[in-house]
């Protein structure tokens, strides 16, 4: 089996250059590649375009990259809960393309699956449809949306093996599997890296064919945005 292992996050992101087009998995702060973001912060690069459902919070996740002015453009569906993001956006320092969440997921999926465009009902008749082709199918209007593909996609999984096969946990799966397939180079960080043969083939979510680099992450903070508990 091909060994995709790299030493650590620093090695995994070493060749990401300024103005790269990146994808990062995660929903809110759930399932984000914490180690890779930390390693990117140490790199002297900027002008990044990042596809990610959210933009982190002020002092965690992608918010850290924003603070260091490393990001030129975000492609996201929801960017609330981040004051620095809003400041940079309103001052014109940062570009943002807001996309309906299902369209975002499908554009990334299409990118990895070799489908250049598809039609969706989401956004018909709204600002999102401006300048886009529409077509009627069986009496309903749909909007054409194009695939998204990245120079690097950076994903986080729960367990992985040295061949790059990945298993996610809970709702930390979210955008990670589609992004893994949509990057020319997919970097996967995992909480537990095991030798090939140890993962049950029936349980693998992302086949290693999509993953070019994998490493064992460390010191996961897994910050919770809205800790909500029941009283009893």
């Amino acid at each position: 089996m091909i060994n995709k292992t790299v030493r650590d996050a620093k090695e995994a992101v070493a060749d990401i250059s300024s103005n790269s087009f990146l994808m990062m998995g995660g929903f809110g702060l759930c399932g984000i590649p914490e180690n890779s973001i930390a390693a990117l912060l140490e790199r002297d690069i900027d002008g990044l375009t990042i596809v990610s459902n959210n933009a982190g919070v002020d002092d965690f996740g992608i918010g850290l990259l924003l603070q260091k002015r490393m990001v030129k453009k975000m492609i996201s569906s929801y960017v609330g809960e981040n004051a620095e993001f809003e400041r940079q956006l309103l001052s014109g320092e940062l570009e943002v393309e807001l996309i309906p969440q299902g369209t975002l997921a499908e554009r990334v999926r299409a990118g990895g699956a070799g489908i250049p465009a598809f039609f969706t009902p989401a956004g018909v008749g709204t600002e999102v449809a401006e300048g886009k082709e529409t077509r009627e199918f069986d009496g309903k209007i749909y909007l054409m949306e194009k695939w998204l593909r990245a120079d690097f996609s950076i994903v986080k999984a729960w367990k992985g093996d040295t061949a790059g096969n990945l298993i996610y946990k809970g709702t930390a799966r979210n955008f990670n599997p589609m992004m893994a397939a949509a990057g020319k180079i997919c970097i996967a960080e995992v909480e537990e890296l095991v030798p090939v043969g140890e993962l049950d083939p029936n349980q693998i979510h992302t086949p290693g064919i999509y993953v070019q680099r994998i490493f064992q992450g460390k010191d996961y903070e897994k910050r919770i945005e809205k800790r909500t508990v029941s009283k009893d």
Partner: protein, 218 residues
């Protein structure tokens, strides 16, 4: 006038046995607290969970298990986890029967605006555009008027819209209203103690009144 909890309680009466339901952030999330226990329904969270359980106890909290509002949640027996593309395949594919979401404005033909206030708020639409474009039944939970007294049930939306001709029913703090296929808000029920005249005064879109309008029951 209804409290947020009462709006949620009234909406819960619309839930039917066997439905798969997506609840939006805010008042819609509260609806889960009032769904009668004799109904078998499954709550979908668009970040990749079917079968949302109650909020966890302190020792059950799992950072890898959240709802679309980023709150920590639990699972129920039979819960399923999946990725975001699969989640929206369920939504766009028409497999989710009922969507309940909040709104800043609704027009008399069923357009909804809830994602952007130009120059003020740039948070994004999240999954709302996919949901409203796809669900067969959409119920909106909202305040009838803004804090400044501006009506939010309008002839046409003034804010950028989230979807066209999609809302079927509104439960506000004043009333239950259906959207007429021909356009207009059909007044179905009044909040306890609120008169038809008061609702007429507070609704700037076309209000349709068909006979006696009963008070809501809980």
């Amino acid at each position: 006038m209804l409290s947020k909890e009462q709006i949620a309680q009234r909406i819960a009466k619309e839930v039917q046995n066997g439905q798969y339901i997506n609840l939006g952030i805010g008042i819609p999330t509260l609806v889960a607290n009032y769904i009668p226990s004799n109904l078998d329904v499954v709550l979908q969270s668009e970040n990749g969970l079917l079968g949302i359980g109650p909020f966890p106890t302190e020792d059950q909290v799992d950072p890898d298990l959240i709802n679309a509002g980023k709150q920590t949640v639990s699972m129920v027996k039979g819960s399923v986890l999946f990725n975001s593309a699969e989640s929206f395949a369920m939504i766009r594919g028409g497999h989710v029967h009922l969507t309940i979401l909040g709104a800043m404005e609704v027009s008399e033909n069923g357009d909804i605006a809830n994602w952007k206030i130009p120059g003020k708020m740039v948070k994004g639409m999240g999954g709302a555009m996919d949901l409203v474009a796809s669900a067969e039944n959409i119920i909106v939970a909202m305040q009838h008027c803004s804090k400044d007294g501006e009506c939010k049930l309008l002839p046409e939306c003034t804010l950028p819209i989230t979807g066209v001709r999609c809302v079927k029913k509104i439960v506000s703090d004043l009333a239950v209203l259906d959207i007429s296929p021909e356009g207009g808000f059909i007044l179905k029920e009044r909040a306890p103690g609120v008169s038809v005249e008061f609702i007429r005064e507070k609704t700037s879109g076309k209000l349709i009144i068909e006979g006696e309008v009963p008070e809501m029951e809980f």
